[in-house]
Each structure stands twice: as C-alpha cells, then as structure tokens.
Amino acid sequence: MRARRPDRADVVERDGVKVAYEVFGHDGPGLLLIPAAPIGHARSWKGLVPFLSRHSTVVTVDPRGNGPSDRPAGSAAYGPGEMVADQLAVLDAVGLTRAVVVAHCHAVPWALRLAAENADRVSGVVAIAPAIALARRDQHWAEPTERWAEEVDDPTGWGMCNRHFWRQDYPAWPRFFFDQLLPEPHSTKQYEDAVSWALETDPETMIAEREGRDAPRNRDAAEALCRSIRCPTLVIHGTEDRCQPVAIGQQLAELTGGTLAVLEGAGHLPQGREPVKVNRLIKEFVDSIEGEPMRGGVWTRGLDRPKRALYLSSPIGLGHARRDVAVVKELKRLRPELEVDWLAQHPVTSVLEAEGERIHPASAWLANESAHMASESCEHDLHCFQALRRMDEILVANFMVFQEVVEEGLYDLVIGDEAWDVDHFWHENPELKRGDHVWMTDFVGYLPMPDGGEHEAFLTADYNAEMIEHIARYPRIRDAAIFVGNPDDIVPDTFGGDLPGIRSWTEAHFAFSGYITGFTPPDPDEIPAIRAELGYHDDEQVCIVAVGGSGVGRALLEKVIAAYPLAKRLTPELRMVVVTGPRIDPGSLPSLPSDPGLEVRGYVDRLYRHLSVCDLAVVQGGLTTTMELAAAKRPFLYFPLRHHFEQNFHVRHRLDRYGAGRCMDYTTSDPDVIAAAIADHIGDTVAHRDVETDGAARAARLIAELV
C-alpha cells in the first residue's frame, strides 16, 4: 500500500505524447520531483513524497518512457527540449507559478535547463547524484560508451550497456546496474524496487532515450549551462556512487555557487537508501529559499517541564494496544508524575480512546500500517516478512512524523512496542535520537518460510544481520530492550547464515518481562457467573470462532461454519458463536439453514471475556488471542496464517512451551477434519503451564528505571 495517495493524478499531452503526473498536498511552496527516466519512474520518490507533501505542494512527474506515461518511438521524441517542455507543461497544468525542482542523475540537466530557460518559474534546484559532463566518469564506463552501437558478443558487467545486448536480454542490464549502484549493505528492497521499475519499460524505449538524450555533450557546454543558473542549488552526492563520481557533484555545486551535501558511503540512489537524510536536506533547502515563517508558541523552562513519555504501539493486530495500556497503568503507579502521550493509529486509537489515554494530534498524519497488512493478505495467507518489506515507504513516512514530534523536545522517554520505524531509522540516523528509548518486542528474528527457498533465507538473514549490526554499532540507541516473554519462549533457530543463535543473542541483549496479557483471567470459581452473565448455559458446549480485527479471517470463518453440521452431529450440545470482527460483515458470510446452535455476531465487546469461559475456541495463530486462551486455560484450535513466519514459528514455539492449544494446518484441514477436532477437544480440561500475570508490572519496572 502507498503511504500517501495523490490528491490529483492526470496527464499532459504534447504532440500526442502523454506525460503523467501526480500532485500531493496543496499548501506551501511547489516542489517538482523528476526521476531519471525511463530506467526509473516517479515511484522512486516514494520515501520522500509523504514527508515533503506535509510541508510543500509536491508534484511528481513520470517523464516520457516509463510509468503511466507514453513510450514514444524514436530518439527524436527524447531529444533536446522535449523533456524540459514536458516539465514546463506539467507546472502549467498544475498551476504552479514557481517551484523548487528536484532531479536525479540524468534528469539533472533537464532541471538545469528548465531553471536556465525559465528563471521566473524555478526558485531552486536540488541535484541528486547528478549526471552531467563536468568531470571524468569512472573507467568502467569507457567500454560501453565507446562500443554502445557495436554488436558485442556476450558482453558482461558494464559492457552490457549496449544497444544490441539490450534487444537480446534487457533485464540483465538493470539487474547488474542496480547491484552496482547500491553498494550499501542490506539494500535488497531498494534493489528489487529499482529493477522492477526498470523492467516496466522496454529496450526500444531505453535505446531511444539514450540516443536522443538531452544533455550537454562536453565540459564546455555543461559549464555554460551551470553558469547560467541564477537560483540556489543543492547537490546531494554519495562518495560510493559508481554511476556518477562525486567529483561531478562537487563541480556542479561550485559552478552554480550552490551547496554540496556529500553522503559518505552512499551509492547512487540515496533517495531510496537514505530517505530520512535526503528528506531533511530537501526540506532545509526549501525552507532556506522560501523562508520558514517564525513560529510563535510556548517554550517551557527545562526544570518546569513535567516528565513525559511518548508511547508507540504497533497497530499490526490489536494485541499490542491492550498490553501497552496495561504497561502504562503499572508505569503510572510507579511514576505518578509521568505524563504519557501516544503516537498511535487505528485500530490502537480505539482502545486508547476508550481508556481515556492522550493521543498526540500528529497521529493523524500517520500512514496506516494495519490497512497495509490487510492489503497484503488473501485467503488465510499473509506473507508477513514480505509485507513488512513492502511497508518500507509507510515506515519512512511515519518515522518522519515521529521525528518531527520528538524534535519539539518535550519527551524524556520514547517507548516503542514494535515501533519498527523508530528503532530502524534511529539506528540508521543516530544523530536524530531524542530522549531515552525503550524497545519492546515479543519475537526476535525474521525466519524464512520453507517454500521461499534459498532466496527468502538469504533475505531474512540479511535483515537479521542488519539489525545485529545496528545494535552492535549503536548500543546507545536502545536504552532498554524488553522481550515480552521468557527466554524459553525464544525459538531454537539461528538468525541464518553465519549469524548467531537467536536465543543466545536475545538473552545477551534483552531484559525479559514475561508475557503481558493485559487482563487477569478469571478464577475457576468465577467462571459460572461470567458464563451466566454472557448467556452461556451449563448444558451447552460453547465454541467461539474468532479471527481478530483484520479482514484476513473470512476464509477461516467460512471453513469453520461449513464444519458446523458435522460437528453438531458429533457433539449435540455444541453451540457455535462466530465472531466476525469489525472488518467483516456478518451478513456477507454463507448462511446455513437456521440452527439454534449456530450464531454469527459482528463486533463483540470485550471478546476476551467470552474466550476466557468458552469450552473451545477456534482462532488464527496470532500471539495475543492464543495467549489469552492459554492464560485462561481454555482448549483451542489455532490456524496460523500461511506464510506468516511469526505465527508459524515464534507463536507456535511459545504455545508448545506452555502446552497450550492444538495447531491446525489451514490447507489440509477440510470441514470434516475441523469438525472432528472440535469434537475431540471441546470441553477438554487443560493442565498446561500457568501464564504469568505480572508481565505488565515487570515491564513497567524496567521502564521506570529510566524515568
């Protein structure tokens, strides 16, 4: 899911060629983002758009040749003036009289020409990894430049930049090229993105643009273009850029009298690989041109400030909200003077509002992670590792919101319960850390699903390695790390490759709070009264079927409903209560002949109370619900979502340790299998290990040490 949808998407047409653009936001100075097309397109700005559009009117353009724009044939269509005229047409169509233009690589000369020829329209130019003939490029470009039009037999490496080769095996070029352009370790997602965007165009378009490219042909022409620029410029260039050496950026900054920001260790795609830094550089540049208005307001003397914490609760699944509220209650008992604000999104906010907690107004700017996860799922299937990877732009967008909030300087403490964005980007940008930071999680280590093969094992190991390197290099970023569970809950696996075992590493780097249920399960002697209150009778065997708050659960509900007739025959006292949750309309489920033993309900208030007194529950493999059932000592069947490594490995391991629940395989469980399992387990007396009830207090004690 995109972190930010455009407010307007349209095309301009020049000489029959359509060029697409998108507009984000409508306040503040104009910002035109031009990617290096056709090998890239406008989605390459995804890490910048959500942040910048909160401060500027952002227009992204898909230059002709890729994305939703036309791919005209022939090099003349990409020749001198065409790209510049497209950009100008977009500015006109949007009605932007002036804009700061941000361009990447060989789009930089287009931006410079736009600025030179329309000085009244361009108030500044940001050149990222500029490609312009101001300095000699690396030696590896010599052969492809010289032999571009030759028929070279089986070229390799940079030699693949060859018109004949592209016609034979174009995909091999972006696969090689972007590997070279992302020398930073742990860049798998940026690499996949760049290659996939390059594959959205075709070799003929690539050849036409390359042969028609509107760029100064030599140093003199490039220098003349630079010297004609009157507006402020900012050049952002990585020292490890193998496409365009940093010397070009240095020359460009010097000749235009601009500012040079060198990114040490960065490659050719800093907008993708270092989005936080690039966002901040661009905003600072725009502010310096447009003049950020002096803001009034209140500043409070340091000693007069209340102690404040900002709490971030992962919105992926509802479970975190309840446990985090429980932790805060305990924390306030220990530190009554502490004020807690929440940076939170739906559905966490609904729990917080009910509890009367204070939600920071910037929460409204957050892109919704829960909706992203729903968009990533289909029939009882959620590849949660890949879904997290594809959530990259949402994490950047939300981190930028978070960072603006903490930079006001009011928080002594940041508590992130699986706030991936904060933990990741503070390690990537350690100079941005504000306040003490508590990291909480209930699992450590990405694990590959078996059917993902070697590649998925490589990817999960790479993500784990990055996390381990983060912690090793910057132990000061996590002031406390709390594992919500016990050492025995940790899976016996390794992080992959040559990496250490997950358990030994986690024990060395975390404190353990035990499990945090967020509620106290009823004593056995309280159960009859609760059952009576909820309308469950002694002569019936109550089976609750629930799938949590997301829309992922429909397929499981349908299967369990289909199992009802047989289950009822096997267990005549069966009363099945199907709870659809807020995202599934109960009326949309297939209806069986009306039967007093089967009911379908939408939202059920305090579902955990029903679960804690039922005779059997049928649920997904999420940690919160299954552990609630374990804590209440209920028998239950759980179906981990397919491809969900956390449910299939981490949660299952933990439940096995408690001896709780029976794991069911969704794919092989037909209604008959489910009915038999219901009959087997309903009303079971379970004697598994007790779930601790002091987790919230233990976590709060660990946090309170920092206050």
């Binding site: 003049g291 002096m294 009034g296 307001g297 209140v298 500043w299 409070t300 003397r301």
Partner: protein, 289 residues
C-alpha cells in the same frame, strides 16, 4: 575574562553627551543590541554577543547614564528620542544602513521609535519583555509604587522611589534584581545585575525616570501601529516587572510573532540564554534573507 573581544570600539559625542559603542563580528545582516534602562549597561548582552557575532555583525552601546557612556544630569537627556538618536548615531558611525534591532524591557521604547520613524533603517525588531504602556504592570507594583512620595520603611515595590534610591540605593537594586529573576537558581544573574547597577548612581536613574514622562499609551500606541517591519516578541510567563500581557499586546498591535517562555522572568536572555539566542538567530536569518 570575556568570551570574545570587540572587533572595533568607538565613541561619539552628541550635544555634549559621549556614547561608547562596540562592534563584534562582520557577518550580515547587522544586529543592534539596544540598551535598556540605564540601571544596567551593555554587558547584559554578554551571552548573546559571542554567539550572534559568529553569524552577524553585532553592535552594542552603553546607554547614556550607564557603563562607559556619559551620565548627563537633565531628564530631557533620557527621552526615548535621545536613545533612538544614539542608536542611529552608532549605525552611522559604523556605516550600517539597516539593522535588526533587539531590545529588552525599556529598550522597547527606543526601538519602537526607530521602527515607526526610521523604517528604512530597521529590517526587523525583537522585543524581549517589553516595557510598553498597553497593560498595567504587575498588581503589587500598581498598588505600592509611589515614585515621588516619601515612604517610611518602604517594602516591596515601595522601594521604587526616588527618596529611597537616594537613601539606600543598594537596597533598591537588590530588591529590583530579585524581581527581575523569579526563576530558582538565579544567583549569578542576580549578582551581575546588582553589580552593573552599582556602576551608575541614583541621581542618574532618577533623571532617566522623569525622562520617560512623554511615553504615554497614546504616543507608544501610535508608534506600534506605525511599525511595519517583522516583529518578534519574547515574554516570560512569570515576568514580575512587566507582565506577559504587555508583550502579547505589543505583538498583536505590530502584527508580530509572540513566543512565550513558560516559567521565565524579566531577563530571559541572561537566564535562558540558549533558547533566546536560538530565537534571535532564527528571526534574524528570516528577515535577513
């Protein structure tokens, strides 16, 4: 030891009154840190000068009646117009076309005069804890202050009194410094203010008091209304010399930005120098662009 030495110092004499000024730094634009009431001299800017001088040209001068400047006897020498004319003379002497003015407390009166009557010389103005007659001073001051009457054993604001100044100037200075710094742990700022105040004398201060008779609400209101340049007002919520509503009113009348310093007293530039320095720099960079 001073954190930085002046890059240039000088003096001029206007109508027989010699005024001493200093320049620090050479950046653009130029910032004039105006004198306040002659109770203290230009050293009260000591936390601003080193920082601002790394970015801008900073001009300071000892207000007539304080520091190394002369202490003329007549009240007429201490009118707002005279202080404003001194500021222009400093700018002329340093060949400064235009500057951002920063004032504290009573300095607001000369600053407003320059903003309204010499707009071509003023790029912007910052008013810290301004003394402007748009709202009553703190209640205890309204009730107790009787400047000309003879008060036996004065207490509190009764000490703001010409007879008491002559009788026990030090006692007044200690009292007044106590009202300037209501923040806990302000001993050094308090000592500094007392020390600077003891460098002038009660007769001079009495003259400065009568010199302001012309600063009526109507007159200052006209100056505020005529001010067109960007304005920033910084006022502490706990200012016990000039209340926050005075600053808020000035911000409103000049269309300026108001920054409230929660918990701060009357001299926040000495008590919370970091925040005030950052605010000044941000404002100056905004108007200097």
């Amino acid at each position: 030891m001073r954190a930085v030495a002046a890059d240039a110092e000088g003096s001029f004499t206007r109508d027989g009154v010699t005024v001493h000024y200093a320049r620090h730094g050479s950046g653009t634009p130029t910032v004039v840190l105006l004198p306040t009431w002659s109770l203290v001299h230009s050293r009260h800017w000591k936390f601003q000068v080193p920082y601002l001088a790394r970015h801008f040209t900073v001009l300071t001068f000892d207000g007539r009646g304080s520091g190394r400047s002369d202490r003329p006897a007549s009240p007429a020498s201490y009118s707002a117009a005279e202080f404003a004319a001194d500021a222009l003379a400093v700018m002329d002497a340093t060949e400064t076309e235009r500057a951002v003015l920063v004032s504290v407390s009573r300095g607001a009166l000369w600053s407003l005069q320059l903003c309204a009557e010499h707009p071509e010389r003023v790029a912007g103005a910052i008013f810290i804890a301004p003394t402007v007659p748009f709202a009553l001073p703190p209640l205890e001051r309204v009730v107790l202050q009787r400047f000309d009457e003879v008060v036996e054993d004065p207490a509190g604001w009764e000490k703001y009194n010409a007879h008491h100044w002559k009788a026990d100037y030090r006692d007044f200075v200690e009292f007044f410094a106590g009202r300037m710094f209501t923040e806990p742990h302000s001993t050094k700022q308090h000592e500094d203010a007392v020390g600077w105040a003891l460098e002038t004398d009660p007769a001079t201060l009495i003259a400065t008091q009568y010199g302001l008779d012309h600063c009526t609400p109507q007159a200052i209101g006209r100056l505020a209304a005529a001010t067109r340049c960007p304005v920033l007002v910084i006022h502490g919520s706990d200012d016990a010399v000039r209340i926050h509503a005075q600053g808020a009113s000035l911000a409103e009348r000049t269309g300026g930005t108001l920054v409230t310093l929660e918990g701060s007293g009357h001299f926040p530039h000495t008590r919370d120098p970091v925040r005030v320095n950052l605010l000044i720099r941000q404002f100056v960079e905004g108007v200097g662009r």
